[in-house]
């Protein structure tokens, strides 16, 4: 694949080849990047995947329509609610069931909470990639509040498996309203602190501005989605373009920036936290009464056909494609995960930049490796 002419790992052109990962602090998981370096300058980045491939898609083919949803929490574990939501939507499309209004609101609320939690974790992790350790811990303080809400209502902190075909698994916990209110209150102050610590810091701005640039055309051609693409000015928010759940009934803006660099990706996510909080604020006092789950049969059978649904996870567009033969289990399931396409653009974004930029850019893409490898 590549040859090393001597023990120091230099190829025929005199470039140094370095394996970043699968065990490396910058890759947040078991991603393996083979990078070709000329001194400090990155000449090529080659992601090698498969270290955490669990063939979830194949596994899902042997699971029933109720069962397979749980495994999607384990792909993009930071937006598990939204993944589950996408799967539930696809199954519901096949079943032709009407979702109670309460369930819809709960789903959106949970989705936005997940998005906020994911974005704060990313904020801390990016700061850590760039070398500031303190923000990571500050981020976990707020994330912990969200996790407690999840734990109370859904019964788990990370892989909740809360969305089921027809609604949600449990009703909201009585404390939910109170806790979300407290969360909103705390976030108002803490977001400013985040800005003080990171956003306006000169070193941070210097490290991220103009780094890892990708144009809108390239972002589209690489199939990028989510905040990473919106930072390049690509309007791709599924919540706006193909509204699902309650998203057509709440007020929020699609955050679009034109710069296309790491700082823009940073700002888009910080803005999205505020947008998500505003969505939660609009919905939290207006949760309709009623059922939290539609009546469905014990054994779900989707009519023969193909079903596709897409949702906007914290990382971008997540698509679920189900082919049904009419049986109890899907004939084929394909997930379109945002991380895979975003990662593929990494080489394009980082060629000619320094190693530090590579790490910053990779951090700004918000990669979750199980989401890429599945």
């Amino acid at each position: 694949m590549y040859s090393t002419t001597e023990h120091i790992g230099v190829n025929e052109l005199g470039d140094m080849i370095i394996n970043v990962g699968p065990q490396h602090p910058a890759t947040h998981g078991v991603l393996h990047l083979v990078i070709t370096l000329n001194g400090e300058t990155v000449k090529k980045v080659e992601p090698h995947l498969g270290y955490i491939h669990r063939s979830i898609e194949k596994m899902c083919e042997s699971l029933s329509y109720r069962q397979f949803i749980y495994s999607t929490s384990r792909m993009d574990y930071l937006s598990s609610h939204i993944n589950n939501h996408g799967c539930a939507l696809a199954v519901e499309k096949g079943l032709q069931v009407e979702i109670p209004a309460r369930a819809e609101v709960i789903r959106v609320l949970m989705g936005e909470l997940t998005r906020v939690a994911s974005h704060i974790l990313w904020w801390g992790a990016l700061a850590m990639d760039i070398g500031a350790f303190t923000p990571f811990f500050h981020a976990f303080r707020e994330r912990e509040m969200i996790n407690e809400i999840m734990e109370e209502t859904c019964g788990a902190r990370l892989t909740m498996n809360y969305m089921v075909p027809g609604g949600v698994m449990f009703d909201l916990h009585p404390n939910f309203h109170k806790r979300v209110k407290a969360l909103l209150q705390q976030f108002k102050d803490k977001l400013d602190e985040y800005d003080e610590l990171v956003t306006y810091n000169t070193i941070f701005i210097n490290r991220t501005k103009g780094v890892g640039f990708i144009s809108a055309e390239d972002a589209i051609s690489y199939g990028m989605s989510g905040p990473s693409a919106r930072a390049s000015g690509v309007s791709c928010d599924i919540r706006k373009i193909y509204p699902y759940g309650m998203y057509d009934k709440v007020q929020f803006d699609e955050v679009l920036l034109q710069e296309g660099d790491t700082y823009a990706r940073y700002l888009v996510r910080m803005q999205e936290i505020r947008q998500s909080l505003s969505i939660i604020e609009q919905l939290i006092d207006n949760i309709p009464e009623g059922d939290f789950q539609a009546k469905t049969k014990a054994v779900l059978k989707l009519p023969k056909g193909e079903y596709y649904s897409r949702v906007e996870t914290a990382r971008g567009e997540f698509g679920v494609y189900i082919v049904s033969e009419g049986g109890m289990t899907p004939y084929r399931i394909k997930f379109r995960s945002p991380g895979f396409s975003n990662l593929s653009a990494l080489d394009h974004m980082t060629r000619g930049s320094k190693i530090g930029d590579l790490v910053a850019t990779m951090g700004s893409l918000d990669l979750v490796i199980p989401d890429i490898d599945r």
Binding site: M16, P25, E40, A127, D129, A132, F133, H138, I203, N206
Partner: protein, 358 residues
């Protein structure tokens, strides 16, 4: 009040009355050596626990709190752990160089302790070029890093060593120029004389703006020179895993670790001596009463207090700021610090010529 200088002179007298002069010298050398190593170990332990506590409180954590009262013995436990750990030498490494590098780092750090004035009349070696000696010997520390990086046979280590080399060599300039401002003001390179010149006020107060600028530049430059965040590019955890000491383990790693902390201590001690008056107590103009109270505090406490304050500032930097990129690091030095400190030294020269300083 017992002071260090009294202890030292009484030991000297006692030895002289019992032994021949040659033996006195030998015994005193051994005492100094043992004391230096003890100080070393103690400083290492104290600074590590201090760093961890500072980091923890800034990160809204508790930090180590299990070993000993409030976790104060944690670093002792860590040292024991590192001592009994296996020191692995990688297969393709240049074994001689690999094993030598940590000791070079350590010896350099130890040599730097020699000219420091720890208290009134208490100095190991008051050589007449004290400041120049510190600048010179501290430039040796880069050798250890280069050796470690090269001999590990690891590309991350090599990159870390290269970064560190470029960084230390360039930041030496502005650190040296910042030191030069005080040398210009004092007219001496001898550390004891520099301290003595601050009897009527610390340089940071009576040196006007240039001394303040020099102080800021000095702190930034020494942070870079000791490879501390935000200039920790040689280690750069998220980029190079651990940089030049990626392959080191056990006691060899501990020596690097210790040397880093001792270097931090030394440069902060130098900063305290040059800008904050060394062991001189804090005096305000004509407030006789206040000045008397300040005089009652032992000089060693003044020295260590100032030094630890500067160490805290450097730790504060580390736990607040993101890391710079290598080109920005060199930009900062060559485009900002160096021109400013050159301009600053002209200002200081003017001040010195017209005797504007107190």
């Amino acid at each position: 009040m017992i002071s260090f200088s009294e202890i030292a002179s009484s030991v000297h007298q006692w030895l002289n009355s019992h032994l021949s002069p040659a033996w006195v010298l030998t015994v005193e050398m051994v005492i100094v050596g043992v004391a230096a190593i003890a100080l070393f170990a103690l400083l290492g332990l104290v600074l590590v626990i201090m760093e961890r506590k500072v980091a923890a409180y800034m990160q809204i954590r508790l930090g180590p709190n299990r070993v000993g009262p409030k976790g104060m013995l944690q670093s002792t436990a860590d040292t024991v752990k590192l001592l009994v750990k296996e020191g692995i030498t990688p297969a393709g490494a240049d074994k001689f160089m690999f094993n030598l590098a940590p000791f070079i780092a350590m010896i350099t750090a130890m040599l730097l302790l020699a000219p420091l004035g720890f208290a009134k009349d208490f100095q190991i070696w008051d050589l007449n070029i004290g400041v120049l000696y510190v600048t010179a010997v501290s430039s040796l520390s880069v050798i250890a890093i280069l050796m470690a990086g090269w001999s590990s046979n690891n590309k991350y280590s090599l990159l870390g060593a290269m970064r560190s080399g470029a960084q230390i060599v360039s930041y030496e300039l502005s650190a040296g120029l910042a030191i030069m401002t005080i040398v210009v003001l004092t007219g001496s390179l001898q550390l004891s004389e520099i301290v003595e010149s601050q009897r009527n006020g610390w340089w940071i107060f009576k040196g006007h703006l240039p001394a303040l600028i020099a102080f800021v530049i000095f702190i930034i430059a020494v942070t870079a020179e000791t490879n501390r965040a935000p200039f920790d590019l040689a280690e750069a955890e998220s980029e190079l895993t651990a940089g030049f000491h990626t392959e080191y383990s056990g006691m060899k790693f501990a020596l690097f670790f210790l040397a880093e902390y001792i270097n931090v201590f030394t440069v902060c001690a130098i900063g305290a001596t040059l800008f904050l008056g060394g062991w001189m107590p804090f005096h305000i103009g004509n407030w006789e009463g206040f000045n008397h109270v300040m005089d009652y505090i032992p000089s060693s406490i003044w020295f260590f207090g100032k030094t630890f304050f500067l160490i805290f500032v450097i730790m504060w930097f580390r736990w607040t700021f993101p890391r710079l990129r290598i080109d920005q690091l060199l930009d900062l030095e060559w485009k900002y610090l160096l021109p400013i400190s050159m301009f600053n030294i002209i200002l200081v020269t003017v001040i010195a010529i017209y005797h504007l300083h107190g």
